[in-house]
């Protein structure tokens, strides 16, 4: 059994070992359970999980979706659901039962519709282009042949444009009803007028028909829309997966004393819950009976555990360590600390959706100008004496050639490429505009415990190292972070006899017949002091002390230097004690630091910075960081962060590897540069194309070349982001 890490404990180890039966669905054919699996990355993992589950009695289906991590198991018979979860965790993966969410089905449907529209647009564009190239290449083509080809193009293009243009028409209509003009208005106008005008030209036997331009336009635009929708759905699905992990199970004690497993969402105020050793509290509550130590690291950031006794109030997120506690819920899960944070998240979300993306700014500049140009062309030619058909022809050409393709593709392509590059480096991006916001930051605020430091205390020294193995025999029985540190340092081994854990004091037992004690100074008989130390005494030998410290991550200093070199200022805000924070700041060379901060004061400090005009990047992992993360201009969370912080953050980086922070800022800045270049190119291209269209020199061939050419340039520029050395 390998040493426990904060990850194990913070991810509701109690939940993992507990009964997932509240989530089992029953039907005529048997039972079914959906599980979110963590850690399955390759084909080997897939085979092992499905193989192990298939071998369980009565299991008829065990199918893991490797892309989303969702596992569905169906079985008949009396096998308890708990065995499924323990089989998976026994293989080394994380497993949490969940309720398949209905919410992301809507996103999936929208994305599917776009993909089908894209397929049809591609088919139509290809076939119509086939016919159009024949027309352009045939200088000496008989007019009848040209007519035939035009009519066939019409037959393909009109239904295709009607079907594929629906997303744009609907959006344009909604925007006009709201008395605004978004990008879809000129697009819809261009498509409808192009098709209408081409039909007219075909009917009178004219030379130029724009069927290929209208369908190709839709094809390119749908690519951009589809990529955007996919990025958003992936982010939504992953956020949902995290939320599903958060809903776990709790053990409720009925008035008669029987214990039943219930869903966290079913816990009501007044229910008495049994909190086992190692379990994380899911709702705010008051301790009814029992005495133990609780780890508040995830709630306040304090590394030293606190004593828990009847009458004390505990907030959701506290982890129980020494002995079982009975807790009366004072609020439902929806009203607990987690829910307060969730509300803060929502407020933060609204702030983020109000952020005007580059693409929106570009569209706002583009739309009125294009309409004006087209109207100008129409009026100008009419005045110059050309007939109404020809004037309309010019106006439509202007609309088509100003090609919103480059605009529509500029941002999504860059975001998709950047997200892919970051993902390869173990970084997961939560949304497209996160990149733009991260690129704008000029000040970084770090949380200390778990973010800059490893989060787990480590053994740093002792009076008598020879007694480590003896002390470990007692330490292995306790969940106190310091005991775990001793157990890790000693490796695996035996546990002493007659173990008895005294909450708040220590552990006692018998080693080789002699009485031994491991614990606080008062319990063991050593000298009292404020420093982080545990005393150990065996038999009649003098007590020895073990010292601990929360080690800095090895790459912390390098990452902070890199951030400074990039022109950012750095600050630490932590909930931990004054001495710990001062030492950490000194070691990293950071001058601005705050200790003993509450979640509210963290958020307040961020608001002060933002009011002063700074754009802040918040990096944190605990429940106490979630409000700050939601309120910052941009935010990052390490992979081992608590669920709520991961949900709120713009970007999650794996393994707590701090070198990822400067890397993410670097990629974000490059992405923003590429996006700006793309939009700049689109502007230049339009400045060249509009006069050509107004002068009447643009033919369908020219329009098609311009459209494809500009889209290709924008795509290639976005792909530049994919090249570039990625640190291994």
């Amino acid at each position: 059994m390998t040493a426990l890490t904060a990850n194990d404990l913070s991810n509701a180890e109690g939940g993992l070992a507990q009964d997932p039966s509240p989530y089992v669905t029953h039907s005529k054919t048997g039972q079914a359970l959906d599980i979110q699996v963590r850690g399955a990355t390759c084909g080997g993992c897939l085979s092992r999980i499905e193989g192990a589950l298939g071998a369980l009695p009565g299991v008829s289906t065990a199918r893991l979706n490797l892309s989303t991590g969702r596992l569905r198991v169906e079985w008949a018979g009396s096998m308890p659901a708990r065995r499924i979860v323990s089989t998976i965790t026994g293989l080394g993966f994380g497993a949490v039962a969940f309720d398949p969410q209905q919410a992301d089905v809507d996103h999936l449907k929208a994305e599917r519709r776009l993909l089908v529209a894209l397929a049809v647009a591609g088919f139509a564009a290809g076939n119509v282009m086939l016919l159009s190239v024949s027309v352009w290449a045939g200088q000496d083509m008989a007019p009848e042949t040209r007519q035939l080809l035009h009519w066939v193009s019409a037959l393909i293009a009109i239904p295709a444009a009607a079907f594929c243009g629906r997303p744009f028409f609907a959006s344009a209509l909604a925007s006009i009803k709201a008395r605004r003009m978004n990008m879809d208005v000129p697009i819809s106008l261009a498509v409808m007028l192009a098709v209408g005008m081409s039909l007219y030209e075909t009917a009178i036997g004219g030379e130029h028909a724009y069927f290929d331009a209208s369908v190709t336009l839709l094809f390119f635009l749908l690519i951009g829309r589809f990529l955007d929708a996919r990025l958003r759905r992936r982010a939504y699905a992953a956020a949902n997966a995290l939320a599903a992990m958060q809903t776990g199970v709790a053990t409720r004690l009925a008035p008669l004393g029987a214990a039943e497993t219930v869903r966290v969402s079913d816990v009501r105020p007044g229910d008495v819950l049994l909190l086992a050793r190692g379990e994380r509290l899911c709702v705010d509550g008051e301790i009814v009976s029992g005495a133990s130590d609780v780890d508040l690291r995830l709630v306040t950031g304090e590394t030293a555990p606190a004593a828990a006794a009847p009458g004390q109030v505990l907030r959701a997120g506290a982890v129980n360590m020494s002995a079982p506690l009975q807790i009366r819920a004072t609020a439902a899960a929806s009203d607990s600390l987690m829910a307060d944070i969730a509300r803060l998240l929502e407020a933060g979300e609204q702030k983020k959706s109000a952020y005007r993306r580059l693409a929106d700014k570009a569209a706002a500049a583009y739309v009125p100008r294009v309409h004006a140009m087209a109207a100008l062309g129409f009026a100008g030619w009419l005045i110059a004496g050309a007939g109404v058909p020809h004037a309309i022809f010019i106006a439509v050409t202007v609309l088509i050639i100003t090609c919103p393709c480059a605009m529509a593709l500029a941002a999504p392509l860059v975001q998709v490429v950047a997200a892919g590059r970051l993902y390869a480096g173990g970084v997961y991006l939560a949304s497209g505009d996160a990149l733009e916001r991260i690129a704008e930051v000029d000040h970084v605020v770090f949380d200390k415990t778990g973010t800059l430091t490893m989060g787990d205390p480590m053994l740093s020294g002792s009076d008598d190292p020879a007694q480590l193995q003896l002390a470990a025999q007692l330490a292995r029985a306790s969940r106190h972070p310091w005991s775990r540190a001793i157990a890790r340092a000693a490796g695996s081994g035996p546990v002493a006899d007659d173990i008895c854990e005294h909450p708040g004091e220590g552990v006692s037992g018998r080693i080789g017949g002699e009485e031994a004690r491991l614990g606080s100074a008062a319990f063991v008989g050593g000298e009292a002091s404020d420093a982080a130390r545990l005393w150990f005494r065996i038999g009649s030998r003098p007590p020895v002390a073990f010292r601990f410290e929360d080690h800095m991550r090895p790459d912390a200093a390098a990452a902070i230097d890199e951030l400074r070199r990039m022109g950012l200022t750095v600050e630490i805000i932590s909930g931990d004690a004054l001495d710990n924070v001062r030492d950490a700041a000194a070691r990293l060379g950071i001058e601005a630091w705050t200790a003993q901060a509450t979640p509210a004061s963290k958020a307040e400090r961020l608001r002060t910075l933002e009011a002063a005009g700074r754009k802040v990047l918040m990096v944190g992992d605990g429940v106490n960081d979630a409000a700050a993360i939601a309120g910052a201009h941009a935010s990052l969370a390490p992979g081992a962060a608590v669920d709520v912080s991961r949900l709120a953050a713009d970007c999650v980086y794996a393994n707590g590897d701090l070198a990822a922070v400067p890397r993410i800022v670097g990629v974000a800045r490059k992405a923003r540069a590429r996006m700006r270049e793309n939009f700049g190119f689109a502007v230049v291209y339009n400045l060249l194309a509009v006069p050509i269209a107004l002068a009447g020199w643009a033919t369908p061939l020219v329009a098609a070349l311009a459209m494809s050419g500009s889209s290709a340039v924008v795509t290639l520029n976005a792909l530049r982001l994919a090249k570039g050395k990625e640190a291994a």
């Binding site: 390759c42 892309s67 088919f123």
Partner: protein
């Protein structure tokens, strides 16, 4: 010229078959788990196709 009257409908029909096939595969859930499909291909099961 008359050959065009056969070839063009043929080409369009083939294209339509392609689109229909894609839409069917999409609604059949074949694109839901690309990573899993890639991994399952390499699994060594004794059961016949």
């Amino acid at each position: 010229m008359t050959v065009l009257l056969y070839m063009i409908p043929c080409a369009v029909a083939l294209g339509l078959i392609g689109v229909a096939g894609f839409v069917w595969a999409l609604s059949n859930g074949q694109f839901d788990d690309p990573k899993g499909a890639a991994a399952r291909m390499l699994q060594d099961t004794d059961a016949p196709l």
